[in-house]
């Protein structure tokens, strides 16, 4: 593939992620934090996010499947997930978490279940997209190109 084309498609793809609201400006900030001294910063953080989120979602599913749901346990998980998703700019996950927390406060099991599904869905979406994004980047890097920086602001 042509390098320029790949760069273009990466840009378009990133843009689409922002337009869909999967990511927000926080992700851009992350990208800005990445430089020569720490070239893999974004992917490191995102990988961490994936690891944590997998674990948290797993825990959440377990807690919510209990006969008696202990919301005191559920809430910190959601909080953490919200924190990490907002840190990497996974906007939709974060939004879902906000709703999730409202239900947690109301101790609404039904709502929590629905929200968990929602969060999971959003999470897999962002995971999928980000993985694709990284793949594209890797391809560009592999073919000796430079990853174009993203534009700020929408």
């Amino acid at each position: 593939m042509e390098l320029v084309q790949m760069q273009k498609s990466l840009q378009d793809y990133t843009k689409s992620l922002f337009l869909e609201g999967v990511l927000d400006s926080q992700f851009l900030q992350l990208q800005q934090l990445q430089d020569e001294s720490n070239p893999d910063f974004v992917s490191q953080v995102v990988t961490l996010f994936f690891q944590d989120s997998d674990r948290i979602l797993n825990d959440l599913s377990l807690s919510l499947d209990q006969q008696v749901v202990d919301f005191k346990k559920v809430d910190p998980h959601v909080h953490q997930l919200k924190g990490s998703s907002s840190s990497i700019g996974a906007q939709r996950v974060k939004n879902a978490c906000v709703v999730f927390r409202t239900f947690c406060e109301q101790q609404n099991v039904e709502g929590c279940h629905r929200c968990l599904q929602q969060v999971k869905q959003e999470y897999y979406l962002v995971k999928n997209r980000l993985e694709t994004l990284f793949k594209l980047e890797q391809q560009i890097v592999a073919s000796g190109g430079v990853i174009p920086a993203m534009e700020l602001g929408f």
Binding site: Q29, L30, Q32, V45, S84, T102, F103, E151
Partner: protein, 1089 residues
Amino acid sequence: MVKVTKFVSSRPLVSLILLVVFGTIPIVIWCIATKNIRNNVDLLTEDLRSSLVSEIEIIGKFIYPKTNSSTISLARVIDSSITNNNTPFTEIQTQIAPVLFQAYSTFPQVSQVSYISTDGLLFSYITGLNTSFTVFANSSGGDYSWYTQTIDQRTGLLIGDATRSQPLNVTNTDWFHAAERDHTTAFVGTGLGGDDNEKLFQRVVSLDSKKGVVSLGFPVKYLTDALNRLDLHGGEICMWTKDGTVLVLESSQNASSFTPRDCSSGGVKEIKGSKFEAYCSVLEVSGVPLTYTLMSPNKGIGTSISHAAMYMLIFMAFYAIFWPLGFVVFMARAARREMDIRSTLINQMEATQQAERKSMNKSQAFAQASHDIRGSLAGITGLIDLCRQEVKPGSDVDASLQQMNVCTKDLVGLLNSVLDMSKIESGKMQLEEEEFNLAKLLEDVVDFFHPTAMKKKVDVVLDLHDGSILKSSNVRGDSGKLKQILNNLVSNAVKFTVEGHISIRAWAQKPGPKSSVVLASEPKGSTVSMFSKLMLCMNKDQSSSSSSSTYEKEISNSIRNNANTMEFVFEVDDTGKGIPVEMRKSVFENYVQVRETARGQQGTGLGLGIVQSLVRLMGGEISITDKAMGEKGTCFQFNVLLITSETPPVSDVEAGGGDYITTPNVGLTINTSSLVGGGGSMNIRQHLSPRFNNCLSSSPKQEASRVVLLIKDEERRRVTEKSIKILGIKVTVVEKWEHLSQALERLFGFSPQSSMESSLRNELSSTSSRELPLIGMDGVDSRSQIPRRRSASFSAFVLLMIDANAGPFPEMDDIVEQFRRGLHHGVVCKVVWLNEPNGRGSERGDICCLKPLHGSRLNRMLKMLPELGGIVPKQELQRESLLRHTLVAAAATSPKGTTSCEIQEESSSRYNKKLGKSVRTVPKPVGNSGDEQGMSNASYDALLKGKRVMVVDDNRITSSVATRKLKKMGVSDVRQCDNGKEAVRLVSEWLTQQGSVVDVLPFDYIFMDCQMPEMDGYETTREIRKVERKYGVHIPIIAVSGHDPGSREAKEAIQAGMDAFLEKDMNQNQLGKIIREIDSKRTVHATAE
């Protein structure tokens, strides 16, 4: 007094005893006194009576003292003169009559002397009226007749004729017999003869020879006269003989009413009730016993005195009993009334309290409910967002969802206003102090409403008046609430304005006494506390309002006391329908809407009420000011008190520079020495010595830049012109696009090149280049008055600001193009098209500016002018025809110089270039905020360079992002820590290793996440502070949380001992600010120590 009354009234026994004790003493004294008086009176009356009696007795004794003896001696004499047994009348006449006459003339007071023989012969001398006469009986012969004949007074011889008179059978009378029997007797009876038959005391003595009797008569009249002469002192006397003939009656009373016969002895008897006291006694007058009764009214005096005393006593007793009784009754009644009033008061107060409690509870419940509703609404919004992500953009569902979203937002807005209202009512509304830029805020508000208003073809104009806001635009206060106030007013204005414009004016002034009048207009209760206390139960709602007003007052006072306080006055002026005068006061009340104007507009009517409360909370007052006659619309004016923060001296103050007026917030540096205004600059010149003045005028003069304004809207044109003029820049205003080319020609149609070049040389040689822009001399006329010399340091600079909608765009574009071509060398021309967001842009690369041209945007444009720091690049001077000039470049080369690299700025421009975009829209960060950012960014490196920092966060991702950010900012060492306990352990370990003297802190800063499992940020901080205290150090801890800086969590963090509060995304500006704050505190500490 009340106490005593109460005491007495409460114990009847005590009062009784008191009454008896105090009552008997005067009674006893009184009784004794009356008794004495009575005794005395009795004694006196007794004396009086006895003296009277003795007087009477003396009279009785001495009036006819020796009648008896005289009669007896007379009888003896007569007896001796009678010799034979049977004496004929002639013998009597010759022998006895002279003796009788002798007796008649010698005895005093005697009025009758007579001799009566047993055989009935009689001879007597009697005193008549004025005369004396004799009565004699001649019994010679058979007939027995009496004759009366007058006598000679001296001789006693009979004179005149004797007249026959009716004879009396004298010898057969009682007294005659009694005299014969007892030898002597006395009686009271009528005389023997005469017409008058006067009553006489008569003394009859029989002769020893039993031949007859001699009688002497004395008149009773003398006694009566003597007795009448007595002073009886109101008394009466009555005298009578044994047979009941009344002699003396000196009384109005009927004598018959007496019973004199009982009164034989001298005794005192009461007669006729109590009126008189009668004294009966027998008085013997010339042997006749006379009974008399002396009646004196004295008896009545004593009784009347005692009666009067008795009545008096009874009255006094009554008085003594009833007066205190009445007093007690009166006091009791008063006490009862007071009790009634008190109980009413208590009831009222209870009712008041209850009402207040109810109201409070209601407000609280209201707030609670609103809060809950808001929570649910937030959920709905979130869910809507989620749904919208699901659906295909552009579909019907998406549109519906969008509408739902709008509705929810409306609901939230409504709820917020209700919540605000209840918060204000329950007094929970508090101001959140934070630093903000007032000019920016105003601009934001106007920008926010501009598009909406423009849809209705209404322009929203920001008028900064004299620019005083810009000079002190960094203020501390509640920006959110101020914004709310402005938003409310402006949105109202937009809502009700159909045509025209809305202008928002603002200016700052020193808080004067004028603003304190505002407070005086508040409920009077707070000032007249006594009065308000009295009225407390009367008007409860007023008291509550006064309490809230005192709260407001406190706040405003605290603001007022600050020396840095400035009063900011805002005006929102629209050309809408206006508010009728009579409604002006009530529009600020809650739930009130002006019906006539509100038709077709929805709302709760809470807006202005909230606005007023908020304004008062900020120590100001809101009012509707009167507009000039004929002007439409409403003008709301309000003032607030805000603390201006000291603007730190910015690095660009150069030594030896002229008078710099720096307004760092706007990013404008105006380096003209006379910015005071047009008049000011002229004055300076006039006051200079003529020589210097010459020198000045001969020195090469800076040709001022000129701004040509073509704006359609009149108000905006006026305001823009003014605000540019304030900066000391000449403005030419063109009202219609048709006039544009004409105006341009007149202005710039000439410019001799030679003069320009010479002036350029002069300028270079001159060291003291002074810029004297001639302010106020705008327009074409002024051109002819000033020497036509071009400035040297900068070429003449023309800035065309043209409203793209002022006329047909292509034509205007052509005019500009022509003008530009016709320009001479050295004149730089820039064109700014004022455009609507999606308007057309110029292809030639002119600068386009979004429409609301005001505030920072205007300043940014003006910054291109050389006076305001814009430098026209050399190459541009060379290639004037190519007037492409990007704003970014202008900003980058400005003397303020963002020499330090600004990441975002740089990158964004890099991206822009990469993306091949021409800089059409002005990138956001450029301008005031950009400058600030650049500045603060420059200091980040210095601030954080080489620092060691600990990040405490349970979330690995957040933690590593933060770490990375900090490293980027120059932090040398970041220690990540994923829970609170670990953090505490690390700190304490370090401190114990250091020993007793800690020179180096373990970390320069700790960034602490607030919500962590096991041990949260607050707890951790407390622990760390505890450990620190032993070593006397203080590690700055900065809280990092997802909440707002003004939220409860933030306050909790500060309470827990953290130094500052930072939002989770770790905005670099904020971080920089916080770190500076902490550092400044620390240095203060250090110097203090």
